[in-house]
Amino acid sequence: MPEIDVALLGKTFGEQRALDDVSFTVGDGELFTLLGPSGCGKSTTLMSIAGFQTPDEGRIAVGGEQFFDASRRLNVAAERRNLGIVFQSYAVWPHMTVFDNLAFPLKVRKLSRKDVGTRVREVLELVDLAPYEQRYPHQLSGGQQQRVALGRALVYSPSVLLLDEPFSNLDAKLRERARSWVKDLQHTLGLTTIFVTHDQDEALSMSDRVLVMNGGVVQQVGTPEDVYRRPVNRFVAEFVGRVNLITGMVARYENSTAIVDAGEAVRGLRVHVEHTLLPHASLTVAVRPESLVVEPANAATYNGTNTISARVTSIAFLGDHYQYELDAGGLALTAQSPKQVDSADVKVHIPPDACAVVE
């Protein structure tokens, strides 16, 4: 049974369509990420699930229980949805100690004093904050405050955890650590989680599945590999990592391979396609920089198919790899490789199965 079921959400602010037919389901125990540029409607989606935004259209159900249904004017109050939420600002209550912050949801649920103490300590232990229980939020670092927020969201064993850009206020080093820490915690607890971010690295490294959205419209839903390797459109290709876009014309088909001509230099490029288009249709192919193979012009490998010659216009050394800016007869390409290639004239091989047709 899907844990979270969001169907056809729509929301308009004034003239602006903030959500347009947003639908997805999140499986039990899954870490599901909403990824997209700022302002694309991620928070609006998340807050609709949490009950703080009222969409104009659509349905939301969690664990089989209907929370929202615009057509039936059903809208369960936020406080009765029993979801755990970590806000972007953490929203740790400044006038309460760490202990009191975590105790509040339990007091609301009328637990006995003793049970409150036991449960809060248990969760403080879980989020590594046991020594800080009597501190006030302003006496904590950003990372610690974030863990207070997480502890507070977990203390009442919610069925679902919602995280709205939880790492955006942390510095780069801390962010790395917090990511793997949250990922582990989520995994250990087996919590169904929706995670919102605009950072593609974060989305790819943490998620079971990723939903990419733009302008309130879902672009693609899939595993991190899917959205990275097989982006369905130009937006996804460009937003999820660096990409080379090669636009050309289909010359003909050979089974499920399209033969594409893209300008003078790139002729007869073989590209895997799922469905065939009309010959002479224009199409754009996305290739990740690290999929390109760069060899010296005189190397013996890769002769013929999908291999073009190019000139190196610049090389940058980035620690674990080199980045090559190439000029293939007027077509600019970026390639990444751990290997160093010294010659100015190179061959570039474009593996057919590394090409994703994006339009």
């Binding site: 406080e79 929203a91 590594d128 087996g190």
Partner: protein, 584 residues
């Protein structure tokens, strides 16, 4: 990382609240709107009825309006009122803006001290200050006599329209000061720096950058000051009546109290007209504020403030501001203080030959004593009740999903625009029409308290709203997500965070209720006197010494209470600034 079996624990889902939040929100909304708008309904009714509401029978008619509009005195009163309000506005806005620029954008001497002292005239009891002015500068006043008899120099006659507006302007100047100061604090001074590095002289920068930047604040405070001046009653009544200069407010008051046969319908009709004007002015101001908000968002964040050098003018300008404070505050208060301890105040005999404690002794007896006790009582109880109600109403207005919440900010600011006299007439009719409760309220000090609370409730709102706006909404959402309903979230999270502002609002409400008087003029009865009404009626009857002593009590309590909230003084005052500068 410790691993804990997460799913062993099964907690109850949060329960549905016994009382849905909507019911509480609706109750608070109705109470606030009912208290503020409600009293004007009987007044409107009274104005279109051919006989008073307490008489049975009667038919609807527009006679009262016809009669009022055909009365030349009424139109003369309007002419006087508009002249008075315009002069007041011009002087107060020019002075207030100049002071704000000097204090926040130049290296004026003693600018920090002035920044606070300049607020005094608006914080001290208005009626007491007017009496102080009269005692010192009025016809037959101490300094007036001293100058004319001893030095043979004429002084400005304060019992003329320009004279009266000068007093009013000196009282309302801080309103313009605070609005402009707030606008300057928000505006980025790098705009001015840029003009200076482009070679503009300080005077040029002032003319081309600073003043245009202030335009929304100037318009906004001008509308507010104009409204407050139109509503003013004390000055017209005390200074204008003797010379037969009537203003709309004093015309209506005298129609009611002095006419051989009081005509409630005509007075109510006049009150409706005044209310209409005040409402239009408030609506106008709301539109101006909209413009200002747009402007501010463009201006961006406040930056570091570089001071324009005044050079040789540093001290002369400081002296000018000091002079303003001496005239508007020090001399009236000193005049009252001296007046309260002498038999008579005259330039012919040195005051120390005429010392007496008799005036102060009188305060322990009769009406004076009752007035003090009553005033303290209603100030305390009223401040507590009004602050509590406004705190919750502010949450309903800004932190709830109550469908009609958007009306609350406007409604809560409305009494600020309505003349106190009209609030008084409204409550008078309301109490008459609400049987048991009404007659109990009419017969006790609590009826006066209610009118004072309603009249001054905007102060509490404007103190609380800016603080609430700074409390991130995610904090209460986190409470809701944790399972707490609206009221529980408000009680455990938002209200505790709002506490400093609630305390400031309480202090301010206490002082405002203590110093208020005009809504009570129609409600007061023997036994129910409050300080303001007693001061006014006794002064009109010619009792000056004890009235001065009473005014000193009011000044003293005000200063002590504001001082007690000293840490919050800055807070409170900057929020009154918000009265002028910032509505919802």
């Amino acid at each position: 990382m410790a691993s804990v079996a997460h799913d062993t624990l099964v907690l109850p889902r949060p329960r549905r609240q016994l009382l849905p939040a909507g019911v509480l929100q609706a109750a608070v909304w109705l109470l606030v709107v009912g208290l503020i708008v409600g009293p004007f309904v009987p007044m409107l009714y009274a104005s279109v009825r051919d006989r008073p509401l307490y008489e049975a029978g009667g038919v609807l008619t527009l006679d009262a309006y016809r009669q009022l509009f055909s009365d030349g005195a009424f139109w003369r009163a309007w002419v006087n009122t508009i002249e008075y309000a315009s002069l007041t506005t011009a002087v107060a806005v020019a002075g207030g803006a100049a002071a704000a620029i000097l204090v926040s954008r130049t290296d004026l001497a003693l600018r920090r001290a002035f920044g606070r002292l300049i607020l005094l005239p608006i914080l001290l009891p208005p009626l007491g200050l007017v009496l102080g002015w009269i005692v010192v500068w009025g016809p037959g006043g101490y300094l007036t006599n001293l100058f004319s008899q001893r030095l043979h120099i004429g002084t400005l006659a304060i019992d003329t329209v320009p004279g009266m507006s000068l007093i009013e302007a000196s009282r309302l100047l801080p309103v313009a000061y605070m609005t402009c100061e707030a606008a300057l604090a928000r505006a980025d001074s790098s705009l001015e720096d840029a003009a200076r590095s482009a070679g503009a002289s300080p005077a040029r920068v002032l003319r081309s950058v600073t003043i245009p930047m202030l335009r929304p604040a100037l318009l906004n405070s001008a509308t507010l000051i104009f409204t407050l001046a139109v509503a003013s009653l004390g000055i017209p009544l005390l200074l204008g009546t003797a010379r037969n200069i009537k203003f709309v407010s004093s015309y209506l008051y005298l129609q009611w109290t002095n006419a051989a046969q009081p005509d409630p319908a005509t007075v109510s009709a006049g009150a409706m007209m005044l209310l209409l004007v005040a409402t239009l002015l408030l609506l106008l101001r709301n539109r101006l504020l909209g413009a200002e908000a747009r402007y501010v968002s463009i201006a961006g964040r406040a930056g570091r403030n570089a001071m324009l050098p005044l050079r040789a003018l540093r001290w002369p300008l400081a002296a000018l501001i000091a002079l303003y404070l001496v005239f508007s505050t020090l001399i009236p208060v000193l005049g009252l203080a001296v007046m309260s301890v002498v038999v008579v105040l005259t330039p012919l005999v040195a005051p120390w030959h005429l010392l007496t404690w008799a005036n102060w002794h009188q305060l322990a007896t009769g009406e004076f004593h009752r007035a003090i006790v009553n005033s303290l009582e209603i100030s305390l109880v009223g401040a507590v009740l009004a602050t509590a109600l406004v705190a919750i109403a502010t949450l309903v207005a800004h932190r709830s999903r109550f469908p009609l919440r958007k009306a609350l900010p406007f409604v809560m600011l409305y009494p600020r625009a309505t003349p106190g006299l009209i609030v008084g007439i409204g409550f008078f009719w309301t109490y008459l029409l609400t049987w048991g409760v009404g007659s109990w309220l009419r017969g006790s000090i609590w009826g006066i308290m209610l009118a004072f609370c309603v009249r001054n409730l905007p102060f509490a709102y404007v103190v609380m709203y800016p603080t609430l706006a700074r409390i991130g909404e995610e904090l209460d959402r986190a409470g809701r997500a944790a399972g707490a309903g609206w009221w529980r979230t408000s009680r455990s999270i938002v209200l505790p965070l709002l506490r400093p502002a609630i305390f400031s609002a309480f202090i301010l409400m206490f002082v405002e209720i203590l110093c208020d008087y005009d809504p009570a003029l129609f409600l007061v009865k023997p036994g129910n006197e409050v300080i303001g009404t007693t001061m006014l009626s006794q002064f009109i009857q010619g009792t000056v010494g004890p009235v001065a002593a009473l005014a000193m009590v009011q000044v003293g309590v005000t200063v002590v209470v504001l001082g007690l909230g000293a840490r919050l003084f800055k807070y409170g005052s900057s929020s009154i600034g918000v009265t002028g500068g910032h509505d919802a």
